[in-house]
Symmetry: D2
Subunit: 100 residues, 4 copies
């Protein structure tokens, strides 16, 4: 795992915040299983590809939700404590990878 | 589901071809569950984002494997039967979505 | 430059095909100059970023137009001559890079 | 043009900052002209596609440089003035488009 400034968000996620992200990931998990069945049923290649695109889009949205929470809490708190620069650099490094 | 020229590949996938794709999807399914646990354990946002990027990359590779098989079989067979143009058009439509 | 099977398309582009692609690239060239002026005029960062996204989208469309022509001519001709496999492999290698 | 909170960065770009971005954009402009010549010379489709990918990558890097400057100045200043939330929202809206 990369070395970041924190192992956990300085402001812990609430139960509600956790459930919101976990439920979206559970739906994605179900979609991945769905594609396994499509391949097992020898469904047409392009139908499979369309489903993979749908999961990519859902994953990207989860990633941006995590990014937003990170910016609104971790990065904002660090900036208010005068320690924002490093937090912005590490976020951009990850966003470059995430936006490929 | 979009309307494509086929419901199933004209040349059915072999058992080996199916297992190869399904096993990769099962690994991705496990990775998605792994992120659920990271969120449950309140792991740092950027660690979660790095894992999401890893899944996106794995999914993209599965998508290109499906695309390659489609081009080597379905599209090639159609071209040899003089019926390639439509197959190329529908593939490009899906690739534009997949490459977002 | 990568080593591909051809230096030129086996079926040369028509004058009309060339002009179509070159005109789109000229518009993109103008958009890039437009962003230089925005930066010179110290326009807001997000306005600049929106324009960069517009160019990325225009470039992607040019790339897919080139890909479509390639598949309809170079790849199809090779497949009909029984020589399609390598052409499909080299295309997919480039598409993986192009879709990042 | 979208409606953002500012028309210009609250902290104007320095001459050096402007030149850095403009020079990169000038190189990209030259690359776009280069592709026009490749098409005029009927160069192989995949060589053209490789060059388009190179420009996409260069553009993405310029976009992230603009984003970094925006976060280090505009967003950070707003957060320190207790006005960060809206700035983060508008940035994420643009980043979602930019990362397509």
């Amino acid at each position: 795992m990369e070395e970041f400034k924190h192992e956990h968000p300085p402001t812990p996620r609430t139960r509600e915040e956790k459930d919101k992200v976990i439920n979206r990931l559970k739906r994605i998990e179900g979609q991945v299983r769905g594609i396994q069945n499509m391949v097992e049923d020898d469904r047409y290649c392009l139908d499979v590809l369309v489903q993979i695109s749908a999961i990519q889009s859902a994953l990207k949205n989860v990633g941006f939700a995590v990014t937003e929470r990170h910016m609104q809490h971790c990065v904002s708190d660090a900036i208010q404590n005068g320690d924002g620069e490093e937090m912005i650099d590490e976020l951009l490094t990850v966003l470059k990878q995430f936006s490929k």
